[in-house]
């Protein structure tokens, strides 16, 4: 980051919002997310001289944000780790006319991604929020913030293989919740 006011403004504009979004889904409380965003920015600017590889700024910032979230969590309810079972996340199938058919919603009926409805956005965010923390932290970094596998592993202090395993289960769990939502909508609210 160049040492001028413009670079500072651009950095704050981009990262303040990103850290807030991340912290909101990690911590669950708006007040906590605001504090995490501010604390993270202070730590980032106080230690900017320690950033040796500017191209790795995103994992560096999110690692600081992740630690700030953990500090908040210690002050609130500590949720024990829950494992997600792959078998529980796969759709049921049935035989129909000699062919196997999955019991899944009609995903083609989803609105265009560009005009994501507020209700659907809430369903997705709720699904992410309800994930056990070890999965939530991975999907937020990989799919919401689009860090790559190695960067996410660096942020979370886990192996790239663990990132891949947790990410897949997190995606399947969110997919399952979205599928249930779509089926409910498509059946006129009768299905649950």
């Amino acid at each position: 980051m160049a040492g001028d006011q413009g670079a500072f403004d651009r950095f704050v504009e981009v990262f303040h919002s990103k850290i807030f979004q991340y912290a909101l889904l990690m911590c669950g409380q708006r007040e906590d997310a605001e504090e995490v965003a501010q604390d993270t920015l202070f730590k980032v600017f106080e230690n900017i001289d320690q950033l040796r590889e500017p191209e790795r700024v995103r994992p560096w910032v999110f690692r600081i944000a992740r630690n700030a979230c953990y500090m908040k969590r210690r002050k609130s309810v500590f949720a024990p780790t829950q494992e997600l079972s792959l078998d529980d996340l796969l759709p049921h199938s049935e035989q129909e006319g000699g062919h196997r058919k999955l019991e899944i919603a009609d995903w083609s009926a989803l609105p265009d991604d560009q005009v994501l409805r507020a209700e659907l956005r809430d369903v997705i965010r709720q699904a992410i929020r309800e994930l056990p923390e070890i999965y939530r932290s991975v999907i937020l970094l990989r799919d919401v913030e689009q860090l790559n596998t190695d960067e996410a592993a660096q942020v979370l202090d886990i192996t790239p293989e663990s990132v891949k395993t947790r990410l897949h289960r997190a995606r399947l769990a969110v997919r399952q919740k979205l599928d249930r939502y779509l089926r409910t909508v498509q059946s006129g609210g009768k299905e649950r």
Partner: protein, 88 residues
């Protein structure tokens, strides 16, 4: 009627779909998945729903971050300038 063996293959494919979508599988692994998908419409349907989930997650950011108070912004800028001075 599809065999139990075929469904077993589907389960193996399900387990690898994220790595397949992220281009993190070996070329041989990708080829196996492609070969399975070519003859398995249910797995294609599932893959599409997973792809859509990933895209929706990326577009799920909604809540606006509250603006930083002017004094907080000043303090951040001061910390930034101090750190830069320490570097030179």
């Amino acid at each position: 009627m599809e065999s139990g063996e075929r469904q077993g293959d589907c389960k193996q494919v399900f387990a690898l779909l994220s790595e397949y979508l992220d281009a993190e599988l070996s070329p041989a692994g990708c080829e196996e998945i492609r070969a399975h998908l070519a003859g398995c419409p249910p797995c294609i349907e599932f893959l599409e729903s997973l792809k859509r989930t990933i895209r929706l997650c990326h577009r799920s950011e909604s809540a606006e971050a509250p603006p930083l108070a002017p004094e907080t912004r000043e303090q951040l800028l001061a910390a930034y300038r101090k750190a830069l001075r320490g570097r030179t």
